[in-house]
Amino acid sequence: MSNKNSVDPSVDQLLSIASKEGIETVWDRFEAMKPQCGFGELGICCRICWKGPCRIDPFGNGPQRGVCGADAHTIAARNLIRMLAAGAAAHSEHGRHVALTLLEVGEGHALAYQIKDEQKLKSIAEKLNLAPAGKDIKQVAKEVALASLEDFSRQKSSIPCNWAKETMTAERVDKLIDLGVMPHNIDAVVTQIMGRTHVGCDADAVNVLLGGLKGALADYTGMYLSTELSDVLFGTPEPVVTTANLGVLKEDAVNIAVHGHNPVLSEIVCDVALKMNEEAKKAGAKEGINIVGICCTGNEVMMRRGIPLATNYLSQELAIITGAVDAMVVDVQCIMPSLTGLAECFHTEVITTMQENKITGATHIEFHEDSAFDSAKKIVELAIDAFKRRDNAKVNIPDSKQTAIAGFSAEAIMAALSKVNAKDPLKPLIDNIVNGNIQGIALFAGCNNPQTIQDHNFMTIAKELAKNNVLMLATGCGAGAFAKNGLMTQEATEAYAGDSLKAVLTTIGKAAGLNGPLPLVLHMGSCVDNTRAVKVAVAIANKLGVDLDKLPLVASAPEAMAEKAVAIGTWAVALGLPTHIGIVPQIMGSSVVAEFLTEKAKDLLGGYFIVETDPKKAADKLFNAIKERRKGLGI
């Protein structure tokens, strides 16, 4: 079994237990699902009306149009942008939740929450042209929340979303407005995608895709405000040394895993758990309460609190198979519905918390901002009760545990750079890019996918790019992969970075007081936090006076899976980034859609998709894209 499913050593260890006990995991279900439907794989199956389902024969022998007359191009384009709409909706619901929480705080409600970063709140207010000077901080919070919520409600389509317009280069804003893809209202754009893809509407594949670009930029808007407002409420991340992989679970503690995406819940669970440590000890847990993270909720609390990350998406079930997780508290997105069935084999309480995200078999403790403490207390009590039922004979905590340096928000990166040059923090970074010590910057994002060996693509591409002196940033389950497998360490920089990259990371790391280099890959947060990287990129672009599509920047989602990843990848292209995906997207049945995304987008936006399933070749292609950009800049 070794190396077949994952490069993460704890996976093999726990899967052998699972197979011995007859416990089914995502890898078993993936095998059972094979062969996967070829028409679906190619994106040429249409199920949007009941005259169908229709499918186009990719070899030209059978039907070339659906019953309504839609061809492969219309069908593939419509399917793709519906995925984008779902991705945008997921991120933006998260953003709305955070914005509404900030509004509550501004209005003096939701007592569990405070404004933890007033400085950031003020700078956001400045950015949104709200003139915060002299205003009461709660008033500023309210105004920022309302200006953010305007991006969900504005009806005048000629006025762009605040969070889109104020966060890009001016040139990019103009370009996107000219193309008619700048969103004015996140909800309206998602609704428009659903409407224009209804049977008998938008049938021109390229026009459909332009609608998708707008949806992707709505996703960007929702993500951006989500991250920034979360920083206001929960603090802007700063570098923190912590640990990752399933070895972070403790035999003598009440282990609570927080899983999902939204910090509005997990932050309060952390607050309350700290206060209930004694109760856990009384229940027999010598080490009290041990909170660990899974997926992006894990990244959120890792970034802000240094809470260890247990695992990323694909191996979430294995956390339960350790037999040591007493409660798994979940909020939204990427939570496998299989968890509750697995938990039946153990003592683990799976606790759902959101009214619109329930799983059959879970204990549901509904979470509301105004009674956050009470819900969190109930959750921790359930965990302590479950701990008392834990069967020690079933406990198998893997040894795997890696140091992980996390917490690199855009602000933290700027702070580290300002230790090298206080007056002009970006100068050391830009100088090193210009002189070639840093060849370019790569942002890793996205999920895990059983179609490829877990974490393998991430690890392979990162090691290749490191050799070529590319500075690397990561978010989401990509960040999880690097954290679990030891690339967010100073040792990894020593081991894998090219000489000039190593020298730069060492200079900045030492200046920032890390007693050595920065880690090889900088953890920028959860998947909703990809806009942190945009913030750094836009600062560089503005400083150089060029647009993003001129910079030696690339993005990669080598193990992408979720609709959210489809949306993120598409806005990365819309912002001008060459964007790699390591999983073949479900669009290849249409030459028009494939060509638009991989070629025509380049003329239109500067960014384009690179599809490459071989991670070594992908690394070459990404590095070539960087070299092409350097050539364009004459550096």
């Binding site: 062969p35 028409f39 190619l42 990719p58 070899f59 059978g62 073949v584 049945g589």
Partner: protein, 185 residues
């Protein structure tokens, strides 16, 4: 002397068939030596050797039944169709695409098509008779593989029938039932 075995053949259970056509895709790919994404990206017009057919509310794939006294083999003027290795084979090199086999096949299981990559010209279309070959060349090199359509079927509606073991199974099941009926168990 050992008695010659009947030819094995592909059988599909119409009660299990969903009509998804994945067996068609798999068949086309299996005879093209490339994967689906590559074939579609390169615009290869691949030809499956089976065909999912719907009649009233019944749907199932149709393909060659590897007849024991095959009309196609008897009718072929070139002698390009023959019995070998437990199936009916077509020697595509000799086939001239005259369509006699298509006309005499009781199941409509033979098509005459050119592989796009072979490319015709104004003198020849290079089309050949093609039909289910039980994935002969695919299985020959890899015993772990079964026929592509069987592997591709999500509901396991498609089977490779070995007549002797099929009949044995029927014998045993029915014999057991009869025996139980006679002994009033």
């Amino acid at each position: 002397m050992e008695r010659a075995k009947e030819n094995s053949f592909i059988y599909a259970d119409p009660r299990k068939c969903l009509g998804c056509k994945n067996c068609e895709l798999a068949c086309a790919i299996a005879h093209a030596d490339c994967d689906l994404q590559t074939a579609v990206t390169q615009g290869l017009q691949l030809q499956p050797r089976n065909s999912v057919v719907q009649v009233d509310d019944m749907v199932m794939p149709m393909q060659c039944r590897q007849c024991e006294d095959a009309p196609c083999a008897l009718a072929c003027p070139i002698g390009a169709i023959y019995q070998e290795d437990g199936l009916v084979k077509i020697n595509e090199k000799n086939c001239v695409g005259c369509k006699v086999c298509v006309m005499v096949c009781p199941f409509g299981a033979i098509t005459i098509r050119a592989d796009k990559k072979e490319g015709g010209n104004s003198r020849t279309k290079k089309a050949k008779a093609r039909k289910c070959d039980l994935c002969y060349s695919r299985i020959k090199d890899n015993k772990e593989k079964s026929c592509a359509c069987i592997e591709a079927c999500p509901t396991k509606a498609i089977m490779l029938i070995d007549l002797e073991s099929y009949r044995n199974k029927l014998f045993k099941t029915r014999a057991k039932e009869l025996a139980e009926a006679h002994t009033h168990k």
